[in-house]
Amino acid sequence: MKRPITLLLSCAILSALLVLALYSFSNQHIRKNNSFLRIVLKDAFSSISGAELKYNSYYIAGATRDHVYLANVTAYLHLLVLKTKEKDSTGIALTDSTEITLKIKNVERLKFKRPRTSVMDPYFYIMDGVMPGLYRGKLNEWKADSFMFDKAAYFIDGIPFSSKSFAIKSISSLTDEQVLGRIKADSPYVKFAPGILQKQIDGKFCTDGMLHYDRSTGKLVYLYYYRNQYMVMDTSMNVLYRGNTIDTISHAKVSGAAISSERAYTMDTPPVTVNETSCVSNGLLFVKSPLLSKNEYEDAFKLQSAVDVYDLKDGTYKFSFYIPKFNGKSFREFRVVENTLIVLYDQYLEINELNAKYFSKSESVVFK
């Protein structure tokens, strides 16, 4: 009986080793030091309070001076409002949260395909680029209504930049490639701005990125996921300048493939993500980067994630700071509002106060 047991054991060990060898080989070329430097601030912010969340499907719909609004991917009419500035003896407490059920006038629920909520004081918007549809309501009233001509364009991602205009990321029907554009309340309702996104590989994944609007400076920002570049634009979508993030990946490393049985176009290798998530506030661009710099230890990202800060005035790199991981996992999204840094993990929201030494006071912003 001894022989089969030793045979089975050696089979098991060999098989396991084979897979582990594959793993170590594949992992090698992902995280190596890159030739750029990071200036890391140790005291960029201090934690104030946090709140456990019931679900991991929340995303940040927006934030104002006193509140964070969390919308939910799986329950699109559900909104969780948390106070960020209610002081008690220990400082600021997040304990006070309100669950809100949004209402939409004159719309059949099932028509929604990919609704996303965005809060921009004093309004909240529900945008669905696949339906397509645009709805708007007032914060605290929570009743959305269709408010402008919204059947003009399909889009992947949209952000409001004034009470009746949106910047959108869409797929051009002419070129089948990603294109930026805007939707306005008056004719021409939709205007695309081809030429802003620069194709490197397929025009679909290689140009993918994040759209932001900075209210304090009135600028639109588009940051690529897979290369070290971002564009700063005015609200008419004229590119003011193209800035670079500190890393050295100027050419996107992505590869797409079609699956005919599913009529889908998808990535066929994991992409090299340069900019994972980002936000803009008060003339600054905050970027979470998964790339190690030359002056960081190899295990620098074991317990924390790096955020690099750029000045949107001229695109210069200012400094970086680390945001700690929570239960071993990096944060998913973050926002900066005035001196508050809001960080969303899978099921945890943390509120931090930025150090005034590095982050100057913002001017109050009037909504147009």
Partner: protein, 144 residues
Amino acid sequence: MIIEIICVLFIILFVYAALTKLLDYEKFRVQIGQSPLLTAFAGWIAWMVPVAEILIAIMLVFIRLRLVGLYAAFSLMVMFTTYITCILTLSLYIPCSCGGVLEKLGWKEHLVFNIAFIILAAAAVLISYRKEKPIAQIVTAKVN
């Protein structure tokens, strides 16, 4: 009898798994490529896995090859299980690349499913040794 049942289970599992992969090879290839562990070898693995599954299934059909087939099935299941464990514990993100009904299993369920099949294979191997022994003794007795 137990060995036969286990073999049939493995044949069904492997033939089913291989066919769902090969019938939509394009999709399987892409999914393998998306895996953070297998990217560099996607082209090879996308062929080798279904071919290995079918070969093992054929081995299990023939009595002479059955024992080797069981060892191979055992090893393959250990590889799959190691892979899932790596993905669940070491990987930054979790992709999905199982065919057909198996696609509906969660990673944790998949792990349990795999371990169950590893135990089945090991059991079948051990039982087949126990059975062979007396036969072997009779044979030697005759020779003597």
